[in-house]
Amino acid sequence: MAKEVEVQVLEDVTVRFAGDSGDGMQLTGSQFTSTTALAGNDLSTLPDYPAEIRAPAGTLYGVSGFQLHFSSSDIQTPGDCPDVLIAMNPAALKVNLKDLKKDATIIVNTSAFDVKNLKLAEYAVNPLEDNSLAGYNVIPVALTDLTMKALDEVGITNKEKERCKNFFALGLMYWLYSRNIRPSLEWIEEKFKKNPVMVEANKRALKAGYYYGDNTELFTSRYHVEPAKLPPGTYRNIAGNEACALGFVTASLRAGIPLFLGSYPITPASEILQELSKYKDYGVKVFQAEDEISAICSAIGASYAGALGITTTSGPGLSLKAEAIGLGVMTELPLVIVDVQRGGPSTGLPTKTEQSDLMQAMYGRNGEAPVVVLAAGSPTDCFWLAIEASRIAIKYMTPVILLSDGYIANGSEPLRVPDPEELPEIPVHYRTDPEGFAPYLRDEKLVRPWAIPGTPGLEHRVGGLEKKHIQGVISYDPANHQKMTNIRDQKIKNVVADVPDLIVDGEQEGELLVVGWGSTYGSIKEAITRLRKQGHKVSQAHFKYINPMPKNTADVLKRFKKVLVPELNLGQFANLLRSEYLTPVISYSKVEGLPFKISELELKMTELLGGKHE
């Protein structure tokens, strides 16, 4: 018989699931996310997992986490400090404890707190027994034992039963947050349809967790978060990498030309490759190349043949592609390079986020090789900028680098699905008329014609050697090289006509402007919102177009006494602004492999405002 428990309405909750990298925490987190999305909350997620796929069980470095922030109002980040931690073992507790809110709820899997696991987590004394968790609302649940018991009659091995404990935990969380368990039950049926006994086991574990919440006295209250008041429309929950893939397919359909992806698997960009591989019914051609160089070169070849050629990678891959990007600049073909940035240099921190490839994107090639650089500010922004990058690449016959990073690539939020008519047009003009044709003829924007093989009468040669202006034959003439270098430079500058003005959110002039680019958008926005609520005057301007920058940039920067530039590197964008606009911006940087906390930014802004943090 279910007991009566109070249902509290909350505006906003941050939960973190943490366990061994083999415990299925990413799956549990993403299931909770999907159900939360269907319940109509606004949400934002942050998976945080080690580079090792199955690190030794129970170790501190093997802990994998998934954080979800959901709310009945508009939110921008996965939250600074979790309200609730689900710790599947002692290591998960130890690693995550420092991040929690002071009075956070901790659901601990007591079954895993044995001598061996305590030792692996380097606990001398069991933290559940030494009063060190005083102040937290600790809810001990023998998750593993209860799961085993619930699956007593299911014909699978004990090891397999034990592995269902994440669904027990998920069921319990569904109860706690008044969620419908049906979507996950349906998901289990689909996922394990080839293995009916696992369908049964996982469904039982999920239900058992839910009923456990219902039938025990562990919790004095349940929680409910009302649907968010988002603008009307149809929504789908989407992670940045999925959004990127969706954006490129959209661009291809909008342009009416086939999409070609040349890519080589790399963390944290591989999901774009995987996602695009699914879209064969949209005619998407995906070439998993033998290496990063082949990946981009195949995309260049495909663009030469008339497709929308794209390639996706992360920092180390961008380094390998540098020479080929130069070839794209020289041959003036449409090409989009997505760099999902991660901690560097070298192999660095493959699964952690950073914004340190900015200078490489801007300048990392031999010779004067300007390209367009865009940066997505959120998971849903990846969708819009994938379309925009494709549009500019085609319109200006140029490589475009689209910067994303591990944080927004793996993080998700609701995307309001646009009606097809809301999408930008992407006109494609293949040259067909041989009359007066030359490969490097220029239109008024300095763009050369796209003349693709299979067009009679336009046979011509392109390549990496300097080309003679207009005729496009090889030329070593000094004056011609100067001219062509200037033209390539000016052509990218001309893209500014397509760059919307920088928008200043808040006062249009004054004391402090916080300028960001890329994935820091949400953290900066929430920090500013908090400060403004406290009566401070702080404004925000966020860059999506890094090269060329919006034409009102200088004007905007001039209107504020102080300009703060927070970024996840050692100040690369700040340097860019200084050199471009000779303006003394203040750099605020961090490279811990993690996004900014709202509180960190708030503190820094308060300091600059000369005030005290409230």
Partner: protein
């Protein structure tokens, strides 16, 4: 000419139609001139509209080739021609895509792309201009230079072993593997035509003389006095005999090739190894490709092996067509509103 090559409307070209207007800038006397001339000569016979032909190259002397062919052309970056060509072919499988490359370009910096193109059996025709030297960088040894070779970068002789390009191609799974010589125009034309007719990765190693930095590298195979005793012309179904009066032969004893004298009466041509171009076992083709490693053995030219397998580009198309048939052609609406959605009023 196979019937499947005549898919384009009737076209009548001459060699001159394939000659681009750019001045040819190779050194006078370079073997590349012959390769270009033979290609221009046979191209009209392919029965393919020249706007449907794309020549792709990397970097090196050989890689200037596309500039001189009046087709579509892409002069890429060092080593990457097979990768660029793969993109061209996948984007538009109706195009005929040729790769012009050299021993440094294809086997050193571009080795990875080469073996993977062979492995996939993508429909590219790769012409390797092998002069066993880096010419454009003015004379360093290459991955096909013989061990001990003295060059500008190996003044005391190179100490590494060379690649046998035909062995590499066979090992990587190329479905058409042939060899010819710049100084044997008729034979070279035949090999080019055979490659053109092949569906899948076709590889021709062309011995090419660099008269500036490695002159005479192949003279033993091209000079009148030595040629007959050192070149073995491979012909399908024919015994392996060579020599000025067809006086020498090769027998295959298990997996060991044995040189035999056909003048003593002990052996006749009928006792010799009969060449099978379509031999399904790569082992025998590989033995052939290693002949030049063996003392006194001749260097084979001709088609080493040809296999008929589905091509990567065709399979890619087929899979897309199958998924479209299964799921229906994708539309914007279906794309955007797919997945789990919810509505906010």
């Amino acid at each position: 000419m196979s019937s499947e090559m005549n898919t384009n409307e009737e076209v009548k070209y001459t060699a001159k139609d394939f000659s681009a207007t750019s001045d040819v800038r190779w050194c006078p006397g370079c073997g590349d001139y012959s390769i270009l001339a033979q290609m221009q000569r046979v191209s009209p016979d392919f029965g393919i509209r020249k706007d449907k032909i794309v020549w792709v190259s990397g970097i090196g002397c050989s890689s200037r080739f596309p500039y001189y062919m009046n087709t579509y052309g892409f002069h890429g970056i060092h080593g990457r021609a097979p990768a660029i060509a793969t993109g061209v072919k996948l984007a538009n499988p109706e195009l005929t895509v040729w790769v012009a490359t050299g021993d440094g370009d294809l086997l050193s910096i571009g080795g990875n792309h080469f073996i993977h193109a062979c492995r996939r059996n993508i429909d590219l025709k790769i012409c390797l201009f092998n002069n066993r030297i880096y010419g454009l960088t003015k004379g360093q040894y290459s991955p096909t230079s013989e061990k001990g070779k003295k060059t500008k970068s190996t003044p005391y002789g190179s100490v590494d072993f060379p690649f046998k390009p035909v062995s590499v191609a066979l090992g990587a799974g190329a479905t058409f593997v042939a060899r010819s010589i710049d100084r044997d125009p008729k034979h070279l034309q035949q090999m080019m035509t055979r490659a053109a007719q092949h569906k899948g990765t076709a590889f021709i190693e062309i011995f090419q003389n660099c008269n500036i930095f490695n002159d005479g590298a192949f003279s033993i195979l091209t000079e009148k006095e030595t040629k007959a005793d050192n070149v073995l012309y491979l012909e399908h179904g024919k015994p392996m005999v060579y020599g000025a009066t067809n006086n020498k032969g090769i027998r295959l004893d298990g997996l060991n090739p044995v040189l035999v004298d056909l003048t003593t009466g002990k052996y006749s041509a009928d006792d010799c190894w009969i060449h099978d171009e379509f031999d399904a076992s790569p082992a025998r083709s590989y033995i052939l490709s290693q002949f030049s490693e063996l003392e006194n053995f001749p260097t084979p030219v001709g088609v080493f092996n040809q296999q008929f397998k589905s091509t990567y580009d065709a399979d890619v198309e087929e899979q897309i067509a199958a998924v479209k048939k299964m799921k229906g052609e994708g539309t914007l609406k279906k794309l955007l509103f797919g997945g789990s959605t919810w509505t906010v009023e």
